[in-house]
């Protein structure tokens, strides 16, 4: 009779194990005695001695919770307004300021991400879905749950393209500056890229510089400088934080599965 529970266990095990990927502990994580990850441990190094940025990262959750608690996802203030931490906000050109005002008044109804278009490289640092960095000496790949997309950052010495076909994520090359990964990107689309939910625009004149620094095991600081003279009166720099997720795996977010929201977005 003992075989019955054993058989039942064996039959149920595959389903149970398959469900565990949402709770899958990553290998090589420094842990406390109780098994919890030691997020203050030093940043790890790759085999070539460079800081190892590999892992699953999520944006900072610094938005204030409502009075009755915070049972849902918090998100980054910079998701809503990239200029949140800057005195006076982002330095918009007059046309860009008018556009952002209009987009805000419409509750972000035309946000391209709400219509299942990609978010662009700045937005991926603030969008609350997870990103996975895969690092090799010559190439860094960032896999994103959001729209199930990829980003490539080439570290093989190639220059940025001089006459690129404009794309949502542009083209990215990088190199190590000490323990900081310095990435330059250009070749963005002239419309359709919002830097935040407010609707701060990005144009094809933009170059973006990112400085990735893994502060410790648990946190990565990404300093983002946007130089887009068509939309902004001066370059600006924001600092975004990302945090490691050690106990889970990526999970698809295919926005177009059943995007019934699009016709329901009516703004006011």
């Amino acid at each position: 009779m003992r075989t019955v529970p054993l058989l039942a266990t064996l039959l149920l095990a595959p389903a149970s194990l398959a469900a565990q990927w949402l709770n899958h502990p990553a290998a090589g994580v420094p842990r406390h005695a109780d098994g919890s990850p030691n997020l203050n441990a030093p940043a790890p190094r790759a085999a070539d001695g460079k800081p190892d940025l590999a892992g699953i990262w999520r944006p900072e959750r610094n938005q204030k919770c409502p009075a009755d608690g915070c049972p849902d996802n918090q998100m980054s203030e910079q998701f809503l307004d990239l200029g949140w931490g800057l005195r006076g906000g982002l330095p918009y050109q007059p046309w860009a300021a008018a556009l952002v005002k209009q987009r805000s008044e419409q509750s972000g109804t035309n946000d391209p991400t709400s219509h299942c278009f990609p978010g662009g490289i700045v937005r991926l640092h603030t969008y609350p879905t997870f990103n996975k960095i895969i690092q090799t000496p010559g190439l860094i790949v960032i896999l994103s749950e959001r729209e199930v997309t990829y980003r490539q950052i080439f570290l093989d010495g190639r220059p940025l393209p001089t006459d690129p076909l404009p794309t949502w994520k542009g083209y990215s090359v990088g190199h190590w500056d000490g323990d900081t990964l310095l990435v330059e990107s250009s070749g963005f689309r002239n419309d359709g890229i919002w830097l935040d939910r407010k609707g701060s625009p990005l144009t094809d004149a933009a170059t973006i510089t990112e400085r990735f620094r893994r502060v410790n095991y648990g946190r990565m600081e990404v300093q983002v400088t946007v130089n887009d003279p068509k939309a902004y009166t001066a370059p600006f720099t924001v600092v975004l934080n990302e945090f490691i997720e050690t106990e889970t795996e990526l999970m698809d977010f295919v926005c177009l599965e059943i995007n019934k929201d699009a016709p329901e977005l009516i703004g006011k």
Binding site: N73, C116, Y127, E257, D261, L265, G267
Partner: protein, 134 residues
């Protein structure tokens, strides 16, 4: 009187905080009206574990006995599963209660902020205006 005032201030504070009204996939205020909270109970007819938002449908009986099918949205699949949801928690014919907000378009559509399952558990729908689902 002080109690009434405290209640009023608390409500005002919540309303003030909710003006940020935001979700990840789209702004909460673009689709739903935070000034129109609603509580509905009924039996589930269909559940869609899909992105960008999980949706479920429920037959709701009004005071005259007429049954109307309502549609509810929650957060994205990955966000809900990471917050403790399991797809088995909602099944057709389950009796549930939903606290949420009506859609701006006046249809039988609402967002589900809190779902009270048939066993009494309360689950966050991940779509609270100020603390968004994804």
């Amino acid at each position: 009187m002080a109690r009434v005032l405290r209640c009023f201030l608390a409500t005002a504070l919540v309303a003030l905080l909710w003006t940020a009204s935001i979700r990840a996939h789209h702004a909460f205020a673009a689709e739903y009206d935070v000034k129109k909270p609603v509580t509905l109970s009924g039996r589930l007819t269909k559940i869609e574990w899909t992105n960008p938002h999980v949706r479920f449908y429920m037959n709701v009986k009004d005071e005259t006995g007429r049954i109307t099918e309502w549609e509810f949205t929650m957060g994205a699949v990955n966000g809900l599963l990471r917050r403790g949801w399991k797809t088995s928690m909602l099944k057709p014919d389950d009796s549930v209660t939903v606290d949420g907000y009506l859609a701006r378009d006046g249809s039988h559509l609402a967002n589900a902020r809190v779902v009270t399952l048939s066993d009494g558990r309360k689950m966050s729908g991940g779509t609270m205006p100020d603390a968004p689902g994804n």
